[in-house]
Every structure is written in structure tokens, then in C-alpha cells.
């Protein structure tokens, strides 16, 4: 986009309307929060907000790649629960063992997904729905259906509870690094461009001789790995491996990706906007918590799911209008 001779702001905004919307909404909500609540801008809220949402951003990043190929990964929540248990078991050996262990466990489930989808040709949502069951069952089996306490003596909990410069949680630093790497992968590497091409048209990509299967395997392994990372953050942030966690995480991740302007049909997407989408989604709940605290509303925890669904609904409505407009432009 930079190689165009003159930068036309209006054209740019029109083309990226979805991702621009999410940034505007994010900034507006932050300003709203800062003006309305006393402690909204406090270091504590900032730090704990980022720490809590790091795992959701990690999952959303993996999901974004999967959705860009036109697929879906419904297993991420259970996989994160599974890897949180794995991480808790590995915690006595310190973070240097638990980190690769949890990520590898996640990638293992990603490999099962990739095998079922690419080799067995099972539709992604069925394959990942089955893995979701298997991971949930697996997590309950290896944990004996108990939460597994982590070892507080090792450096393990530093990851989920410590901060860099007293402000930035370790988890968010890692996620920020991951975001940067994945952004580069998408924009600057062959496999990144192949991912987008597959989403545009898998048949055409195949006929062009692109390594479609390799790119598809990559996205599911990546998504599994990201879920593994999220499980690690879960275990080290809350001090326990939690086999029953992760319910509905796939929905948050899908919502984040969609809010970030990535089309569910695949073929286009933005990594930074996905992160903004995840932050926006998290911020909505942060603001609701502050409202609850001020006593203007009283929402029980059960409202969370309703609001999440409503939010997804609004975004999908918006998207379907965008898609309809694009199709009109293309004249099909």
C-alpha cells in the first residue's frame, strides 16, 4: 500500500473500514473509561488488564491465521485447559521446561487437527470440535479432574505474575513479541501470503502450485501452539492447572478476530487489528466491571455470555453488510 504514489487517506479508510473501526472504538472506550472512572488509568488496572488478556490475545492470534485460510479452530479453549495442566506438572522444573512443554503439547493437538483436516479431509469445524472433546477428556484424565497446584518455589509463577519495569506483565511482553513475529510472517513471508491465498481460493492456490497443505498444516500447528502458550499463562497467572477452564474461549477468539475486521470467509485479515479486537473485547468487560463497582448497574457473571454473544452478533451484522457491499462492487 505504501508503494502507491500518493497516499489517499479516504481511499485507505474505505478499504480498511473494518480495522479502522476497531481502533477508533478501542480508543473511544479507553477515553470513556479514563474520564468516567477514577482508577481506570491506574497502573494496577493497566497491568492486571493486560496480564489477564494476554492469553486471549495469544489464542486470537492463532485463530486469526486459521480463519484467514477459511478454516476454524474450535479446540483452542480445551487445548489451553490441557496445556495448563501440563504446565502445572512441569512447573517444578522451572519456566525453561514448562514453556516449551506446554507449547509442544498445544502443537501436538494442532498436529491432530492438521492430520484430520488435511489427510483425512474432515471439515475443520468437525475435526476441531472432536479435538475439543478429546482435549477436554485428556485434561480431565491427566489431572484426575482436579486443579493441579503449581510449584511456587520455582521461577514458574514469575511468568504470570511478574512484571517488566513494574508495569508490563511478562505475559504481555511475550505476546507482543509474538504479535510482531506473526505480523512479519503474514506480510513478508511466502507462507504468510500462501495463507491469504488459500482463503481467497483454495482451488486457485492449488492450481498455482502454492504449497497449500504446508500452509494449512502451519496454521493449525500455530493455533495449537498459541493455545499452549495461553494454557501456560493460565497456569502461571492463577497458580494452578485448570482442566475445566477454557469453555467459550474459542468464541472470544473468533469474536476478536472478526471484530478486528478479518472476514470469516478467509482471504484477508490483519494481525494488529486482531489484537485490537481482543483488547476491545476485554475492555468491554473491564468497563462493565467498573460500572458494576460504581453500582449503576448490577450484572451477574451470567450476563457475560449474553453480552459476548450480542457483541458477536453486532459485529457479524456489520461484516455481512461489508461483504454485501464488496460483492456489489465486484458485480457478482
Amino acid at each position: 500500500m505504501l508503494d502507491e504514489t500518493a497516499f489517499d487517506l479516504r481511499k485507505y479508510l474505505r478499504r480498511n473500514s473494518a480495522s479502522v473501526t476497531v481502533w477508533v472504538a478501542l480508543i473511544a472506550l479507553i477515553v470513556f473509561g479514563l474520564l468516567r472512572y477514577d482508577n481506570f488509568g491506574s497502573a494496577y488496572n493497566f497491568s492486571s488488564f493486560l496480564n489477564y488478556n494476554a492469553m486471549f490475545i495469544a489464542i486470537a492470534l492463532g485463530m486469526c491465521f486459521v480463519i484467514m485460510t477459511g478454516g476454524i479452530d474450535l479446540s483452542v479453549g480445551s487445548v489451553a485447559a490441557f496445556t495448563s495442566v501440563v504446565a502445572a506438572y512441569l512447573s517444578p522444573y522451572g519456566i525453561q521446561v514448562a514453556l516449551p512443554g506446554a507449547i509442544l503439547a498445544g502443537i501436538g493437538f494442532g498436529a491432530i487437527n492438521a492430520f484430520c483436516i488435511i489427510i483425512l479431509r474432515i471439515p475443520p469445524f468437525i475435526a476441531t470440535l472432536a479435538t475439543m472433546l478429546a482435549a477436554k477428556g485428556g485434561a480431565l484424565v491427566i489431572s484426575g479432574a482436579q486443579t493441579i497446584s503449581v510449584d511456587w518455589g520455582s521461577n514458574f509463577t514469575k511468568l504470570g505474575m511478574g512484571q517488566v519495569m513494574g508495569l508490563f506483565p511478562w505475559a504481555i511482553v511475550i505476546v507482543a513479541g509474538l504479535t510482531l513475529v506473526l505480523w512479519l510472517v503474514l506480510e513478508r513471508t511466502t507462507i504468510g501470503r500462501t495463507v491469504l491465498a488459500i482463503g481467497g481460493s483454495e482451488d486457485a492456490s492449488n492450481l498455482m502450485g502454492l504449497k497449500v497443505n504446508r500452509a494449512k498444516a502451519f496454521v493449525y500447528l500455530l493455533s495449537g501452539g498459541c493455545a499452549g502458550l495461553a494454557g501456560l499463562f493460565l497456569a502461571s497467572g492463577f497458580g494452578a492447572g485448570q482442566p475445566l477452564e477454557g469453555i467459550g474461549w474459542e468464541l472470544s477468539a473468533i469474536a476478536s478476530v472478526v471484530v478486528g475486521g478479518t472476514l470469516l470467509t478467509g482471504g484477508m485479515g490483519s494481525i494488529p487489528a486482531t489484537v485490537a479486537g481482543a483488547l476491545l473485547l476485554g475492555l468491554v468487560f473491564n468497563v462493565l466491571n467498573f460500572e458494576n463497582g460504581q453500582g449503576t448497574i448490577s450484572f451477574s457473571a451470567y450476563w457475560q455470555m449474553v453480552i459476548r454473544g450480542g457483541f458477536l452478533f453486532a459485529v457479524i451484522l456489520l461484516q455481512s453488510r461489508i461483504i454485501a457491499r464488496q460483492q456489489k462492487v465486484l458485480g457478482s
Binding site: 484430520c116 474432515i122 472432536a130 472433546l133 477436554k136 451477574s300 457479524i316
Partner: protein, 325 residues
């Protein structure tokens, strides 16, 4: 070469799909007869029929949706919603004052609400062209949330024999809901094979564009499929509540979407659409239930049973894809 290719394909083309399911059923029955204690007892039959009916009822609705090439992930949430509403209605002042009216309303109103959920799903899919998984994901999340908000997350227990008849009644010695599932199956079978609506349903799944170009009411038929599916899910939710004499919005219908999809696929529904084997869905539901029962009765933990179910789903879909290829 040519003949070698043809033979298995002809084999695969028609009845073996059904026979594969029946073979699995026979294997399960024989295994249980030998290894599961007390399997050949009337009590076992009752337990299994009363359990399988809910899966079968939801699976039949799912089969209709799958026949259009869609999927409905919200069935479990709709079950929870309908199941949460019923006790709220017949335990309300109005319901207590007029018990008969209360029970009737407690059955009809949740079904109407469930139907509205179906309208929502159908309009999202057919009119707004949202992919079915995503469209139904919305209610999958928020439907159960609404049910929990309505009940404040509380377990509602009750004692209402006339409502509980839905789940505990018996006709000719067999559970009422088993008969109900059978009647629904016969009606749906007739609708699919004998009415224009049914033929359009299959045509849409076969080739939606062709159905549209030949003047078929594509949107209406698709919305109809989602509505029927949701109403049947609502009915199943009521039955579960009636069986337990309690409504738990957090657990009612949990993971039912998986059971229903698995049953429909095992019964021969093609995920690409174009086929609606209603009695196959019942067969699939029976197999799923028997697998569950077999594992449970032989002391396999619930968690391992989850993994077994995952493997069954993958295997069933894989065999389907394999045959098609």
C-alpha cells in the same frame, strides 16, 4: 481397473451406509450381551430408551439442517433455554393458580421461544448469508447465558407429575418420549419424502444455486429447517427437565450439539447436504447412546468416554469422505 473401481463404488452407493451403522449396532449389542452385567434386562432397555429419545429428537432436527448443507451449534443452548423457561412458567403464580393451563403454557411457550431462536439462526444463515457455524455460534454462547440469567444460575427443582409425564410417562410399558421420538420421525419422514418442502430441502443441499435458479423458495425452506431443529431441541430440553424433575441451565443440553451431529453423521447425513436420513438419525442416536452406556457400564471413566466420542465422530465423518472420494 475400471471394474475394480466400479465395484466398491456400487457397494458404497446405497444400502451399505445403513448397513455399516447396523453392523456397528449389532457389534455393540453382542459385546454388551456377553460382557456387560445385567445388559439383557428390561430395565436396561427402559434406561436406554429414555436416554436415547432426547438425542434422537435433536439429531433429527440436526439432520434437516445438515441436509441444507448447514449446521446448528445452538441446539444445546436452546435446550437449556427451553428447559429453564418451563419451571419458571408452571411455578409462577399464574401456573400455580391454574395447574392445567400452567403446564400447557409451560410446554407451548418454551417451544415458541425455541422456534424464535430457530428463526434467528435461519435468518442469519439464509438472509444475511452468514456461515452456519458462526451464525449459530451466537446463540450457542448467549442462549445458555440467557437461561442462566433467567434462573439466576439456580437449580430449579419441582414436583409436578403432569409435566414430568414428558420424561417419565409410559405407554404400553415403554417410555413416553421414545414413542414421541418415533412419531416425530414418521412425520418428518413423510414431510421429506412426500411434500414439496421436503423435496426443496434436499434440492438446496444438493445444489443451492440450482434450486434457487429453478425458482425454489430457498430462504423460506432453509429458515424452516432451522426452526424445526430449534423447536425439536426445545422439546428435548423440556424432556430432560421432566426426567430430572429439575432444571439446571448450566448442564441441560451441554455438548448436545456434538451428540446430535455425531448421530446424524453416523446415521448417514452428508455434511455437504442433500440427504436427510431421518431413521438413520435414530439409528445414529441409538449407537451413540449404546457406546456411552457400554463405556459407563464397564466402568470406563466419563473423561475417557469423551475421547471415545471424539474418535467416533472423526471415524464416521472420515468414512463418509472416504466413500465420496
Amino acid at each position: 481397473m475400471d471394474r475394480a473401481m466400479k465395484l466398491p463404488r456400487r457397494f458404497a452407493s446405497m444400502p451399505i451406509r445403513f448397513h455399516g451403522g447396523i453392523a456397528a449396532l449389532i457389534v455393540l449389542l453382542v459385546f454388551n450381551a456377553f460382557f456387560t452385567p445385567n445388559f439383557l434386562q428390561l430395565q436396561t432397555l427402559f434406561v436406554n430408551i429414555s436416554q436415547v429419545a432426547t438425542i434422537a429428537i435433536v439429531a433429527m432436527g440436526m439432520t434437516l439442517v445438515i441436509a441444507t448443507g448447514g449446521i446448528d451449534l445452538s441446539v444445546g443452548a436452546v435446550m437449556a433455554l427451553a428447559g429453564a423457561l418451563a419451571p419458571l412458567i408452571f411455578l409462577s403464580d399464574l401456573g400455580v393458580a391454574n395447574p392445567a393451563f400452567g403446564v400447557a403454557l409451560a410446554i407451548i411457550l418454551p417451544l415458541i421461544i425455541a422456534g424464535l431462536c430457530g428463526v434467528f439462526n435461519g435468518v442469519m444463515v439464509a438472509v444475511l448469508n452468514v456461515q452456519p457455524i458462526i451464525a449459530t455460534l451466537i446463540l450457542f454462547i448467549s442462549g445458555r447465558g440467557i437461561a442462566q440469567v433467567l434462573t439466576n444460575g439456580n437449580l430449579q427443582t419441582f414436583s409436578n407429575p403432569s409435566f414430568s409425564y414428558l420424561g417419565t410417562g409410559k405407554i404400553l410399558g415403554l417410555p413416553f418420549q421414545g414413542w414421541l421420538a418415533l412419531v416425530i420421525a414418521c412425520i418428518l419422514f413423510w414431510v421429506i419424502s412426500r411434500t414439496t418442502w421436503g423435496r426443496y430441502l434436499l434440492a438446496i443441499g444438493g445444489n443451492e444455486r440450482a434450486a434457487y435458479l429453478s425458482g425454489g423458495p430457498v430462504k423460506r425452506v432453509k429458515i424452516g429447517a432451522y426452526v424445526i431443529c430449534a423447536v425439536l431441541a426445545g422439546l428435548a430440553g423440556l424432556i430432560v427437565v421432566a426426567i430430572n424433575s429439575a432444571s439446571d441451565a448450566a448442564r441441560n443440553g451441554n455438548l448436545m450439539e456434538l451428540d446430535a451431529i455425531a448421530a446424524a453423521v453416523v446415521g448417514g447425513a452428508l455434511l455437504q447436504g442433500g440427504r436427510a436420513p431421518i431413521f438413520g438419525a435414530i439409528l445414529g442416536a441409538v449407537i451413540i447412546q449404546l457406546v456411552k452406556y457400554t463405556l459407563l457400564a464397564n466402568g470406563v471413566e466419563d473423561e475417557v468416554a469423551l475421547i471415545a466420542k471424539a474418535v467416533i465422530i472423526i471415524l464416521a465423518v472420515w468414512m463418509q469422505q472416504y466413500r465420496r472420494a
